[in-house]
Symmetry: C3
Subunit: 273 residues, 3 copies
């Protein structure tokens, strides 16, 4: 039996509306358990960013525990920044649990171990892939990868690659840049704004991937990705306005993540088909 709802003649095309405010409300009500298998550089900042946002972080990343934990977590992040052998096995366990999960393919393309793992994990269909343009291009097989976490392309350079990956996984792909770009099978969102200081602090992007995993516990992946981007844009702008440099920016960013209110996100996401 096939039930057709969204495309039945009597159903008008649903209005294309983003509601990051509702997404943030739901996240703060649920405080979703968010599992992070992430790199050693950013694990502290990521946990603090999730706590400030209102989620409950758990950095459970060893084999024999990661899969079981993913079964009770609301969202899972797999970030390939420093993929030790134990983390690679933990990631394999975790993505098999059926919980919505985010792939952050740090420096994929340039480096063989993580590149092979990223392609293997893709088959477990990440709900969201988040990277910079170089990484998304490399993951789609259309680019050579960046130098580590540096993006050498703009987000829009990766639009076709993002669409291709989204078609392949059936999920959402988010490209971080001056304007963040988020696509799924039929929709495109753009989130402008934010602060360049986020690129002067390690973990700004990695923690954004974790935030997407937290949001994916409470709303569908496309909405999760753009809601997280909208929070990042607002909090980073406010933090930048009262910072003397990258050190004080990172501190202020955590304060502002905790202070962001749902209504601050209204109008932050531009949706198109």
């Amino acid at each position: 039996m096939v039930v057709r709802t969204s495309s039945s003649p009597s159903t008008p095309t649903p209005a294309l509306q983003a509601d990051p405010a509702r997404a943030l409300e739901r996240l703060r009500e649920a405080s979703p358990l968010t599992q992070c298998i992430t790199n050693a550089v950013v694990t502290n900042f990521t946990a603090n960013a999730l706590l400030a946002l209102g989620a409950a972080p758990a950095m459970c990343d060893i084999p024999g525990e990661a899969g079981m934990f993913a079964g009770i977590a609301g969202g899972v992040l797999v970030n390939l920044g420093t993929p030790t052998a134990e983390q690679r096995d933990a990631a394999r366990e975790a993505v098999a649990a059926g919980t919505p999960w985010v792939l952050d393919p740090v420096a994929v393309g340039a480096l063989p171990v993580r590149t092979a793992l990223a392609h293997e994990l893709l088959e477990a269909r990440p709900a969201i892939i988040r990277g910079n343009a170089s990484e998304i291009l490399a993951l789609a097989g259309l680019g050579a990868g960046g130098r580590g976490v540096d993006a050498t392309d703009t987000a829009d350079d990766a639009l076709d690659a993002a669409r291709e990956l989204a078609a392949h996984t059936g999920g959402t792909v988010a490209v971080s840049g001056e304007t963040d770009l988020i696509v799924d099978a039929g929709r495109t969102a753009r989130v402008p704004g934010g602060s360049a200081l986020l690129t002067k602090v390690t973990g700004g992007g990695c923690a954004l991937g974790a935030a997407m995993a937290a949001f994916a516990a409470v709303v569908e992946p496309f909405e999760a990705a753009h809601a997280a981007s909208a929070v990042w844009a607002v909090a980073s702008e406010r933090a930048a306005s009262r910072s003397a440099g990258p050190g004080s920016f990172a501190v202020a960013f955590l304060d502002e993540l905790a202070a962001v209110q749902p209504h601050d996100l209204v109008g932050r996401v531009e949706l198109t088909r």
Copy 2:
């Protein structure tokens, strides 16, 4: 031969007095070498907290070095937050050295690898066990464990479990909560106060376990545990009073740890039999 001192008719019951001020003086004089085998999320914050307190941290956590190092350290912390295979072996080495050590059974109960290790390590008799109520209940076999580092019970819910564990190990058990609870075979201490912001920063509790290990190098375990709790209460209250959110709180907390003076701790610990 049995020597009975505390209950001999001619010996008056010793006055039940806490002296966290003296404990902090001794810690600052000795600057005890404090070895931490701890999780990847909090290792930086823990080392900075120990330095601010006046101790000398050393995160020596690989097999082949951890046991030898524990032999020269004044106190040892074993925190099970992200227990890699190497850390598990390092912990086994370190607890065999005979140095007073603290067990922080993060998320025990819920996850099999660390739960098995925690039970194994218990047989090496930790001088202090520090956890939230869910963890203490789970370790005593009386609860199912929390969701990661979240406490889902209050400290007093774990009073019986803490007493049972203390009787089993012959050591001290500290339960973190709105009011911290510390018990050993015959004594109970409570440390009220502190700030809820400590739970909004990753590592607040983990670093407290490290502080207990540092204090255990200079005073007996029961006193070490409540002195550390008293320092945490004072520093977190002061930090909270001048913070705009969790980011600035974590920074201010380190400043306040360095600024706490022994006399600030007077009256902070409530002792009962």
Copy 3:
């Protein structure tokens, strides 16, 4: 055939001049990719310090990737603070790439695994060795090593040991202390100043080693080492002047690293033969 240049009668002895200002200019122009195989405690602070300085950090530290990455990096840091088995193999790969690399022999002498590795890696001729006096003495076989990262000797105590090591490797040796000491085959530099608060924050010295690796990508090793020390002295003095304790100092130090200008370094380095 032997070509003698520096000591030929017709060539005047080159003026002994330090130019850390030019070194910083070149670093900021090139933003050199700087690979760090470093300890878990300081990896976040190190990455943020490199970003603030103007370099591009990449914490690529697993076997199968580290060697390849070292081939494209401009400078490499190998810090032995928490040397897991994977990091030890990664270090062996990385130092074979031919890229200028810095050895930071944390706590060498006292602990067997890292001590054996340090001696093995020495044969790959580090461009720069950076440590405190105890570590340099221990590495040269002239001392017993410190207690972890604590220096128990002054920089000048290690002058002979530093010269011996420099002769052995053909590179530069930097000894951190109240006045930093930098030597190579024929030259000695001293960088006074800085702030003692740097020793109250974990990673102050480790991140300095990373900065030397970044500078080594753009200038020769001896200049790289003293230029990095000069930046550290200026930034730490300024940060200390506006800090309430070690927590706020660490934050301010990152801000000041980003704010340091080349002309601020003029006169900071004292050179002698």
